[in-house]
Chain length 295, copies 2
DNA sequence: TGCCGACATTGCGTAAAACGCTATATTTGC
DNA sequence: GCAAATATAGCGTTTTACGCAATGTCGGCA
């Protein structure tokens, strides 16, 4: 935006003298004269009454003077606002994660980040990790805390934050169907166990693979969205579930459940930050990304 | 003021697509791209995060979007305001006149003018007509109602509005010093008459000339600024005054004074509108001038 | 009254910039 | 891996902006 016409106008309105005003603006008198003429043609009203000897503001010029002062002030204010924002990163980052992530390591990460970039607002959306990839790919969220999938989609970048074993959990109270010897699984031992599994997502895939590898057909009692809900249901005694251990560690129901020491163990759950590759160029995203990389 | 950068920015911010935005703005995509880049360089902050495939507003872009909408709205508002003012004359005209003028013919003139140009504000300043010329010449007033001087100064235009005889007035009540036979003036008759005259101005000049022509040296009791004050003092019985008859006609004290039928009569007082020639180009001034000419 | 100086404006030649077309590089979706 | 999409850089042309010098006009002053 070229604000010179406004500045030139104001200089002339102040001095009422083309020569002096043009000096103030560091342009030739002819340039100033043409600038004013352009303004007048643009607005289709005369701003100055003038002859070869006198210059005076018209009533419209008086109105325009108010406008010009205002517009210039707003422009300068904008520049200051923006330049302050340029020095210090500011804006908004939306992060999708599970409740557990928001309670555990993510909390520390974001605390540090917030101290370093107080003017970046973080919007935390919690939900089922199974959806996290899709949400990031669709651009609904800037980032997500998500388990590393078997293969990371091309447009996505993934940075591991923590690992956590997937574990079988059973109610802390006794129940007839809880496998007595989880170290040596067998179809008979598992066929009557009511399983509480994720509807979808990596933990479900790993569970399915685990059962399939042992030739076991599990009895699925409930399919749940969100690991935290699995803990709840298991704690209530509805069955046996599979969750990352970190979910357990951050659950208020940890006393109500116990880990079944099954063999073979389930794979580890690699939890990390996930973001569109191209969005890494954004200074805000990059700042958070770098914070993670430092760890 | 070229507002296109703002329009282009807003189009891009809406569509987030250079191709479509450039169509909306009737420019080529490369032009739009350069316009945005210029804005960003000017403000020294990025407004869009973009690669070859995606466009997104930065936090600063969001701020600028608010600014741009606002600035454009104000600009349009200004244009409307000014164009309305262009159709209908608006502004301010200052007029200097005597109290009498403001009470008499000027009132009618301005009433009509106000109906025709309701958006022109008139600022009436009253004072001694003797000063009127100087005030107009100095640019302190746009116009003045003033007696036509013996010779009108070059830079001034004068348009006669009305004529009024200069008259001698005496108190209505009897007083020993009031000339008994004003039709035949003589030094003896006048030498003891306390005269109440203008400090300056045409009426004073004419009075002086009248006395001089008759070889009379008047006894000046008081020199007053403003004809109305002369009527007051005469009405109070302090002496004999010289005022334009029109002042008398508009005075509440008209019953307290009477006109002396002196011979020879004083010249007529030619009262009219006076304005700087060069200011006649101003549409406002011209409108009022034309109104006078029509009469 | 006539001349001089001040000053806004215009003509003109040059410099700069703006514009559109085309080409290019990169990315996405199939 | 290929083809479509798309923001952008290069380039030649057109438009615009700028300053200098000239012009015309208005006040002031002798």
């Amino acid at each position: 935006m070229d604000m010179r016409p406004l500045k030139h106008f104001l200089a002339l309105a102040d001095t009422l003298h083309f020569g002096r005003a043009s000096e103030l603006c560091h342009v030739s008198p002819s340039t100033l004269s043409r600038t004013i003429r352009q303004l007048e043609q643009n607005l289709e009203v005369p701003l100055f009454e003038r002859d070869n000897r006198h210059v005076a503001l018209t009533p419209q010029g008086l109105i325009f003077q108010d406008y010009a002062k205002d517009a210039l002030a707003q422009w300068e204010l904008l520049r200051h606002t923006l330049s302050r924002d340029a020095d210090e990163l500011a804006g908004e980052i939306s992060i999708y994660c599970s409740v557990t992530a928001s309670y555990s390591f993510l909390y520390d990460l974001l605390s540090d980040f917030r101290l370093r970039h107080p003017r970046i607002e973080l919007k935390l959306h919690t939900g089922d990790p199974a959806e996290s990839m899709a949400r990031v790919l669709d651009g609904e969220e800037d980032m997500a805390i998500t388990p590393r999938p078997r293969s990371v989609p091309g447009p996505l970048a993934f940075k591991s934050l923590t690992r956590s074993p997937l574990v079988f959990i059973a109610p802390a109270v006794q129940a007839g169907w809880i496998p007595g010897t989880p170290e040596s699984p067998s179809d008979t031992q598992w066929q009557n166990v009511p399983m509480i599994l994720s509807e979808a997502g990596l933990s479900r895939e790993y569970s399915d693979t685990w059962f399939k590898a042992l030739g076991i057909t599990p009895r699925i009692y409930a399919q749940v969205a969100g690991h935290e809900a699995i803990v709840s249901m298991v704690g209530l005694g509805f069955g046996v579930g599979v969750v990352p251990k970190i979910v357990l560690d951050n659950s208020p129901l940890v006393e109500r459940v116990r880990v079944l020491p099954v063999k073979p163990e389930l794979p580890h759950y690699d939890v990390g930050l996930c973001v569109l590759n191209r969005r890494l160029k954004s200074p805000l995203i990059q700042a958070l990304w770098d914070e993670v990389v430092e760890r």
